[in-house]
């Protein structure tokens, strides 16, 4: 007999963002912790309902900006004072007001670059394969359908009980299992 495929979780499909949000809140209140909601548009409050509390991206952006600004200013100081001092009409070598535009652009460049990289790195992307892509109808998760997946790793996950719980949510279209 063939080995039963490993399970990723149980997934419910909705056609309305507010129904998904409501179901997610119910699942959280029921004690589920290992779950993820999928939607074709950002829904405010959905990540909060999943217990999302990650605000590292702004810190990365700030750090990037700081490093960029300091690199710009110190870089120009090094070039103008240490490596290639050039006396222009007796003006000071460290004529910092003239270095502001470059330092300013470097601040923005580094902040934007760090934000971009942090966004993908913290999201664990690029990642071409994920078990949830096996879910029924999941190609519509990027178009017009909304999904809530409770994963088998959840301490209170129970194949039948979880499926029943999801099936009782308002606005649910169908509930199915997701193979790994």
């Amino acid at each position: 007999m063939a080995v039963a495929p490993a399970m990723h979780g149980t997934i419910a499909e909705f056609d309305d963002p507010d129904a998904l949000l409501a179901a997610t809140i119910h699942a959280r209140d029921a004690g589920y912790t290992h779950m993820e909601a999928y939607s074709p548009l950002p829904i405010h409050g959905l990540a909060d309902a999943l217990g999302f509390n990650d605000y590292r991206i702004p810190r990365f952006a700030f750090a990037g900006g700081l490093v960029g600004g300091l690199t710009g200013m110190f870089g120009l100081w090094y070039v103008s004072v240490i490596d290639y001092p050039l006396n222009v009409g007796g003006k000071p070598l460290f004529s910092w007001p003239q270095f502001i535009p470059v330092a300013y652009e470097a601040t923005i460049l580094f902040a934007a670059g760090m934000t971009f990289l942090a966004c993908w790195a913290l999201n664990g992307l690029p990642k071409v394969y994920h078990p949830v892509f096996n879910a029924r109808n999941f190609d519509r998760a990027s178009q017009d359908r909304f999904f809530l997946c409770i994963e088998v790793t959840d301490p209170i996950y129970d194949e039948r009980g979880t499926a029943e719980f999801l099936a009782h949510q308002e606005g649910v279209l169908n509930v199915s299992e997701v193979e790994k």
Binding site: D16, P40, S80, I108, A112, L122, P126
Partner: protein, 506 residues
């Protein structure tokens, strides 16, 4: 229904203005916008526009080849006009890009939801405009293969770029602008490319979109980080876009040539950039509405109206700049500045100056009339007039000042050559070529932001219906959990407080 507690029903920021015409749901939005990309045969007009672009791309390649073979002497640049079409067109193109960043970043920070349907192609225009702009200084160096010398890197010559020069600032401003615009554009594209991955049927398209969307799966935690990143990128793009044209204006304002050395330049250049940019968005956006009529529900007449209003407003700022330039010249008491004002009004290039005042100062006043702001052919012609006007502005600033500097023995004249024209028309072709490639291969309207807009319209309709005691007719789950929807969004709290008493009284 009216007796139920309904404070949870409120979408806290009422969307009184509707930016989607007709009946739409998430399915139809996805369908209509991705059809432009996925339909096997684009309309004939697409081929015509693309062919036009392709033809001029070839002209562009010829112009560049000839330039590289023979040197910058093939241009009309001479002494005293060492800078001519290369800098005129550089400034013109880079200004055109600014509208895209204004729409994508500044209007996002201001929560202007009407931007959702126009930001994607405006951002694409930003990137293509910067590509066209960048060609000019890179080619004007005469040896474009040595252009990496512009960047500071440790080298065996023991030399560094001149960091006290606005031209070197330009290198940093423009390259940062290009990079950040590209990152921002790509970030916005990822979820939409995922939609294309899931909608396309051709294996090659599925594979290519699958790679490009980085495996996006629309997880709520991903969206949350994604929105953080979007807001930060918008937040850094807003000061960036202001700095870019400011630094471009320093190229002139830091110089001592009559007509350049004024403090009005930075704000007046930035306003002019947005003015020209919105005109270009209209120049390309209006034909696209004709080419793909189903998109008219998303790029509505109201969008045209509001874009025309921004064009008018920035046009007035620019016109104010022209008046102040005259004032500065006369008020300076400086012989050379006064002579320059006289030269603009009565000199050999006076018709360019009068045409400039007509195009940028007088003609846009027609946009005060509401019906003309929605009149598509009129608006299109107006956008072309503004495009020409902004080009003339740079012509007036650059060769008119350079041909009449301090010593009459230095005076000269300037005429563009065939190769100036070829390169300029060539960059227009390059822009058109890239733009039409873009609308064929990537969604030109932001899919997920349109869904978001629809969601907020639905929520608003639902709340209104409940408040007025009607059946909302939307399955009844629209309001569940509504209070959490905007949790943690400080900007909304005031609105919430303002609307709640109204709801309680209903």
């Amino acid at each position: 229904m009216a007796t139920q507690p309904i404070q949870t029903e409120l979408k806290t920021r009422p969307t009184y203005e509707r930016f989607i015409d007709g009946e739409h749901d998430y399915t139809s939005i996805t369908e209509i916008i991705s059809d432009v990309v996925l339909s096997p045969r684009p309309p004939v007009a697409w081929f015509l526009a693309f062919g036009f672009g392709f033809f001029f791309v070839n002209i562009f390649l010829m112009a560049v080849t000839w330039l590289v073979l023979r040197g910058t002497g093939v241009w009309g640049n001479n002494i005293p006009v060492g800078w001519a079409w290369d800098i005129i067109n550089f400034v013109w193109w880079i200004g055109i890009g600014h509208a895209g960043t204004l729409i994508s970043a500044i209007l996002l920070l201001m929560r202007q939801q009407w931007r959702n349907s126009i930001n994607r192609f405006a951002e694409a225009m930003t990137i293509f405009a910067v590509v066209c702009a960048g060609m000019y200084p890179l080619l004007h160096t005469g040896r474009p293969w040595c252009d990496y010398w512009l960047f500071p890197y440790p080298n065996i010559l023991g030399m560094w770029p001149q960091f006290r020069s606005p031209l070197e600032w330009d290198v940093f401003a423009v390259s940062t602008y290009f990079t950040v615009s590209l990152l921002f554009w790509f970030l916005g594209l990822v979820p939409d490319i995922a939609s294309l991955r899931d909608k396309s049927t051709h294996p090659l398209a599925k594979w290519a979109y699958g790679i490009a969307c980085l495996g996006w799966r629309g997880a709520a935690r991903h969206w949350a980080r994604y929105e953080q990143a979007t807001m930060i990128l918008a937040g850094v793009s807003a000061p960036l876009v202001l700095s870019v044209h400011t630094i471009v204006s320093f190229d002139f304002a830091v110089g001592i040539v009559p007509g350049w050395h004024t403090t009005i330049f930075p704000p007046y250049f930035v306003a002019g950039a947005v003015f020209a940019g919105f005109a270009m968005v209209l120049t390309f956006g209006l034909p696209i509405r004709v080419l793909y009529p189903r998109l008219k529900d998303y790029i509505t007449d109201k969008h045209l109206d509001w874009m025309a209003k921004i064009t008018l407003a920035t046009g007035l700022i620019v016109f104010y700049g022209y008046i102040l330039e005259m004032f500065y010249g006369m008020y300076s008491g400086n012989t050379y500045e006064i002579a320059l004002v006289m030269n603009r009004l009565f000199g050999p290039y006076k018709w360019f100056y009068y045409a400039l005042i007509f195009c940028n100062g007088i003609a846009p006043q027609a946009l005060w009339i509401p019906s003309l702001r929605r009149h598509v052919p009129f608006l299109w012609i107006m956008s072309l007039i503004v495009g020409v006007g902004m080009w003339l502005e740079r012509f007036v600033i650059i060769p008119m000042s350079l041909t009449r500097d301090f010593l009459p023995s230095n005076w000269g004249a300037y005429d563009p050559t065939f190769w100036d024209w070829a390169l300029f028309l060539g960059t227009m072709g390059l822009f058109t070529f890239l733009f039409f490639l873009f609308i064929k291969f990537l969604p030109m309207i932001n899919l997920f932001e349109m869904r978001e807009l629809l969601h907020s319209i639905h929520s608003h309709d639902h709340a209104t219906a409940v408040r007025e005691g009607r059946d909302p007719g939307h399955g009844g789950h629209g309001g569940n959990g509504g209070t959490t929807r905007d949790a943690g969004m400080p900007g909304y709290e005031q609105d919430q407080a303002a609307t709640r008493p109204l709801a309680d009284g209903a």
